[in-house]
């Protein structure tokens, strides 16, 4: 069915109801706006036989990272059957549902959590591929659900730390046993392979993070702030971590650009356009019924931001050769 190709599709639905049904106590504005299929004619590689039956649902294309994932996907699959933007306008959910059901896509690519939850709600038999979702492990993964995670492997991050700062040998991590014990074990082994000693202090909900960090700072060259939900449970906890590290002149390496203003020295995150391209490759593999397909793939590209002022303040030895790998330099 190519009924919706090149058509303008308009519709909305109520996200709050879906989220509530999923048992999450979030109060997202429940506005959906469904848009378009403006399909470009340009492509380097075209897959005319396989792209007709793919639908993209974007949580909100006005959000930069969602837009980048969308563009990345379309650089590989330029002519999907339809593209829906769940933006910020109110309308009825049923109309959108109807459009998706009539389109009957074989695969739906969902960008962001809103799109994912919406697709899960309105489709049963379509294969769903997600990206741009933080901590995908909290999702219910059905048999026909696939995705690209938003978190880089710890070994990738550690390799980049070694590349950028060859003399930074001892890195400290606060982590919760409840969520990240296995992760920490693996990261320790990975670190050992490249000559980094990873010093971890386990914490729980009752731990005084400030004292744990104080102990850690005495013994390390840098702090690796990960997305551990216990460590990041409160906004002021994050502020305090950066204040303590700053006072001790110890750099913070972390995973999100949101921490740049807080004083992070180095941010290594997944490269969003690459996750979109990976999702498209996964789509093509699924459409061609390839065997041995991973359910959730790890991001293959990294995005690096470095604060050179902090590098200088922290007296870090930066490998200048590695600057060709840095995406954003902050002075």
């Amino acid at each position: 069915m190519i009924k919706y190709k090149n058509n303008l599709i308009n519709n909305t639905t109520m996200l709050a109801a879906i989220l509530s049904k999923q048992g999450r106590n979030r109060t997202f504005p429940a506005f959906f706006f469904i848009l378009f299929s403006f399909l470009s004619g340009y492509t380097n590689t075209s897959y005319p036989d396989t792209t007709e039956n793919v639908l993209i649902i974007n949580s909100d294309i006005s959000i930069k990272n969602y837009s980048l994932a969308h563009t990345g996907f379309k650089s590989v699959i330029p002519n999907p059957k339809g593209e829906i933007n769940l933006g910020n306008k109110w309308k009825e959910k049923s109309e959108t549902e109807k459009i998706i059901r009539e389109a009957s896509p074989a695969i739906i690519y969902c960008i962001g959590i809103k799109a994912y939850l919406f697709a899960q709600e309105v489709t049963n038999d379509a294969t769903v591929i997600f990206s741009s979702i933080i901590n995908w492990r909290r999702l219910t993964i059905k048999e026909n659900t696939y995705g690209i995670s938003s978190e880089l492997l710890p070994s990738m991050q550690l390799t980049m730390y070694r590349y950028l700062f060859p003399k930074t040998n001892k890195i400290g991590v606060l982590y919760s046993k409840e969520y990240n014990e296995e992760w920490m074990q693996q990261a320790r082994e990975d670190a050992k392979d490249i000559g980094i000693s990873l010093v971890g202090i386990p914490i729980n909900k009752k731990t005084n993070i400030a004292s744990a960090l104080k102990k850690l700072l005495k013994n390390v060259d840098a702090i690796w702030l990960t997305s551990d939900p216990v460590v990041l449970s409160k906004t002021d906890a994050v502020t305090n971590i950066f204040q303590q590290c700053n006072a001790a002149n110890i750099p913070v390496f972390t995973y999100s650009e949101a921490f740049i203003d807080a004083g992070a020295t180095l941010v290594i995150s997944a490269d969003i356009p690459t996750t979109g391209k990976q999702a498209a490759r996964l789509t093509l593999d699924l459409l061609s019924r390839q065997e041995k397909i991973e359910k959730v793939n790890t991001p293959a590209g990294s995005h690096i931001s470095i604060n050179l002022k902090k590098v200088e303040e922290n007296k870090l030895l930066l490998n200048a050769e590695a600057l060709d790998s840095v995406n954003q330099i902050i002075q």
């Binding site: 990738m156 390799t159 490249i194 490269d271 391209k277 293959a300 590695a322 060709d324 995406n327 330099i329």
Partner: protein, 267 residues
Amino acid sequence: MWFPAFLCLFLFTNTLAPCAEYKYTIYFYNPETNINNFASLKKEFDLYLSRFGGYQFQPFSEREIFEKLISEKKDGIFIISSWHYKQLRENISIEPILVAVSKNKSTCRRIFSTSRIINDISMLSGMNVASASSEDYTKNVLIQMFGENKGAVASSIKILSVPKEIDALMSVGFGMADAAVTTDSSLAKLSAINSKLHDTLKQLLISNETLLPIVAVPKPQDENHKKLAKIIKDMETAVEGKNKLSMLGFDGWKILNASEKEYLEKQ
């Protein structure tokens, strides 16, 4: 008393005026690298170039736009890949003058690395190959590596375009891609950083040696082209200039010798 003060102000503002306008531009496009840090590149290069007057740096991500510009613009010089120059030279009147240098070498080889056991090239069919170069360029390298009679294998390869060569290599090592096409220097870097990961990669095919990116000027050259070329050539002598070059992946530039010029003029 007011008149001399006004005259001083007039002379001062007129002295500054030429610096406020951009004179010539360095236009940059390189399909051999998937450089996407354009904002930082422009900011850093513009800052460096500003000390010499009103020069600026303009990177491009779209080949078509760059090619249109290179055929029209005479107000600057071009940093382009040697592969791209060979494709453009018959239609566009530009002259190569410098070639990039990295670790005292002006050439590199591309290497096809995989963690799989491969006994025959046909086993590479349909593989996901990570590359930090453009899809066009990577396919071209693959065809050259595989040999003309294996063109079907090369076209069946699925290219996963990643931002950096180190990402491409890690993608193979950590299982996100089946193989990678990178330069020999990136493999050497990985070996120094993570030898265990490097050792999991088998270097299956090696390309011919190619020249690193070049600096080319429009014909005929004028004084501003010469001045700007000298500024680029001298970047490696200042720490700040060297750091900016590092962002492009080079240590410096050298004047093209006869054999390098011959290589560029060959088909």
